[in-house]
């Protein structure tokens, strides 16, 4: 028997930072990993519900052995994509705001206008 294999980068180079403070890049990576863990947990709950619907009982082995068929995976993909869209709403909003007017500018202009004697 050989030692266990560890897959490690051989020539990846330095991780790029896109924000002025690399800690924001790290925070982004943490948030995204956390989003994955929530999805994994949701899928596990989904597996449990499906097993209960079908069999009325549960065992850990049943959960571990469960693999979604294509229909189940399609449903999960829809749910995951809706979840992702909710999670990153703020980013989509920034984009949407680009093509419309800036409400704050409009408000300030209005205030300036009204402040005139």
């Amino acid at each position: 028997m050989s030692d266990k294999i560890k897959i490690t980068p051989v020539n990846r180079g330095k991780r790029p930072a896109f924000f002025d403070d690399p800690a924001i890049d790290q925070l982004m990576a943490i948030v995204m990993s956390m989003s994955a863990e929530m999805s994994v947990l949701y899928d596990r709950v989904d597996t449990i519900e499906r097993l209960l619907d079908n069999k009325g009982t549960l065992s850990r082995d049943d959960i571990e052995a469960f693999r979604p068929d294509q229909d189940t995976e399609d449903e999960r993909n829809v749910r995951r994509n809706e979840y992702i869209a909710r999670l990153f709403r703020i980013i989509h909003e920034e984009r949407e705001s680009l093509v419309s007017h800036d409400k704050m500018d409009e408000y300030n202009e209005l205030m300036d206008e009204l402040a005139k004697p």
Partner: protein
């Protein structure tokens, strides 16, 4: 909906939770790539390009300047940080399952009783620097690292990671590129009946095997420098029941005799080589082709003639997805390179076509058979991409 990856004896997906983490990561990456990525155009038009123009007195003139403008914008920073993280998450989601499967997995591959094809390894083959210089696509360990004797680890990591990276859009066997190119050849030249086909830079053979479907009378060979991918690819082909002969060889200098093949193909290989590597590979193709034979190499869309924004979308990967030679490839004149390798300028081929199945069949047929299909060759990742196919008749 996107089909799940086809299960076979050697595919590693891991535990219940690991498989779901992988699936989520693929969903996440496609969302960032396509949904958030499509916002980059608005950001570029309405914010980044005007800011660049204000600072410099002119509009961005090429992909690099467009990239600078976008990376100065918060949306561009966020998108870049996210898509880079997704790329890391893809490999991280597969890695524990592949590690845990060892060393039993290598034993299983070693114990394979081949019924259809063959595997010929040559430890004397050196991995060229353009492969070893960086972990391409950020895949830890790259294509070629051997962690143990007779190791297939990197092949297993690549096969699963590739499917997730493609978000399943290249089909359950990750073979849409090879299948599409083979279909283009068959439909465009119905009288061309290759008897011996060679795929160069085959990795795990995912884009090689469709040639066996589409040209069932041909003998199929594939070469790569990376032994772990070849071992895995051979096992995978056997598990799928597809006859293919895998060889560890460098496509710049193979051990095949002159005029061995009717058709030589590659799939998204050239942008992972180098300028000198490419020149040698084209010369080697010419040596290996029989008179009347053809080579055809599929590649990503080119930045040549593209607007700065579109060029940016393609250049981004060069810098941040560890594809150091992508940018050089984008600026290579392929027609001249073929002539330099000894092919006749009149025999040069350039076709552009979308993936089979990504458009209605009549539209695919039109691209496959049109005289001037390469006149419009743009496309962004996450949108309809037209693949370029370059080659020549000998």
């Amino acid at each position: 909906m996107v089909q799940q990856q086809k299960q076979h004896d050697f595919l590693i997906t891991g535990t219940h939770d690991e498989a779901n983490r992988q699936a989520y990561t693929a969903n996440l990456r496609m969302h960032v790539l396509a949904k958030i990525g499509e916002g980059l155009k608005d950001v570029y038009d309405h914010k980044a390009a005007p800011a660049f123009e204000k600072a410099t007195g002119r509009a961005p003139k090429d992909g690099r300047e467009a990239m600078k403008a976008i990376l100065d914008d918060p949306y561009g920073k966020t998108w870049s940080s996210m898509i880079h993280t997704c790329q890391e998450m893809i490999w991280d989601s597969v890695r524990p399952a592949v590690e845990r499967a060892q060393p039993e997995f290598n034993e299983k591959v070693r114990g394979l009783n081949a019924q259809h094809g063959s595997l010929t390894l040559d430890p004397g083959v050196e991995v060229p620097r353009y492969v070893s210089a960086s972990d391409i696509h950020l895949m830890p360990g790259n294509y070629h690292t051997e962690h143990d004797k007779d190791d297939s680890t990197q092949g297993a990591l690549f096969d699963r990671g590739l499917y997730l990276y493609q978000g399943g859009f290249a089909g359950p066997l990750c073979d849409n590129n090879g299948r599409s190119q083979a279909e283009v050849i068959k439909r465009r030249w119905p009288d061309f009946k290759p008897q011996k086909i060679l795929d160069i830079g085959c990795t795990v053979g995912n884009n090689t095997l469709p040639y066996a479907d589409i040209f069932p009378d041909a003998e199929l060979h594939a070469v790569d420098v990376a032994a772990p991918c070849l071992r895995y690819g051979h096992a995978r082909a056997e598990a799928l029941g597809v006859p293919c002969h895998f060889h560890q060889m460098n496509a710049e200098d193979t051990a095949f005799e002159d005029e061995s093949f009717d058709l030589i193909v590659s799939c998204i290989l050239f942008h992972e080589t180098s300028r000198t590597g490419l020149a040698k590979i084209l010369k080697e193709c010419r040596r290996l082709l029989k008179p009347g034979g053809m080579m055809l190499h599929m590649e990503v869309p080119r930045t040549e003639g593209l607007d700065p924004y579109s060029a940016f979308r393609l250049d981004w990967d060069t810098y941040y997805n560890n594809e150091p030679f992508l940018s050089t490839w984008m600026r290579t004149n392929v027609s001249d390179a073929c002539v330099d390798a000894g092919f006749d300028a009149e025999e040069y081929i350039h076709i552009a076509a979308p993936d089979l199945g990504s458009v209605p069949d009549e539209e695919f047929e039109r691209y496959a058979t049109a005289e001037d299909s390469a006149s419009s060759t743009h496309g962004h990742w996450g949108e309809l991409v037209l693949w370029n196919m370059y080659g020549a008749w000998k």
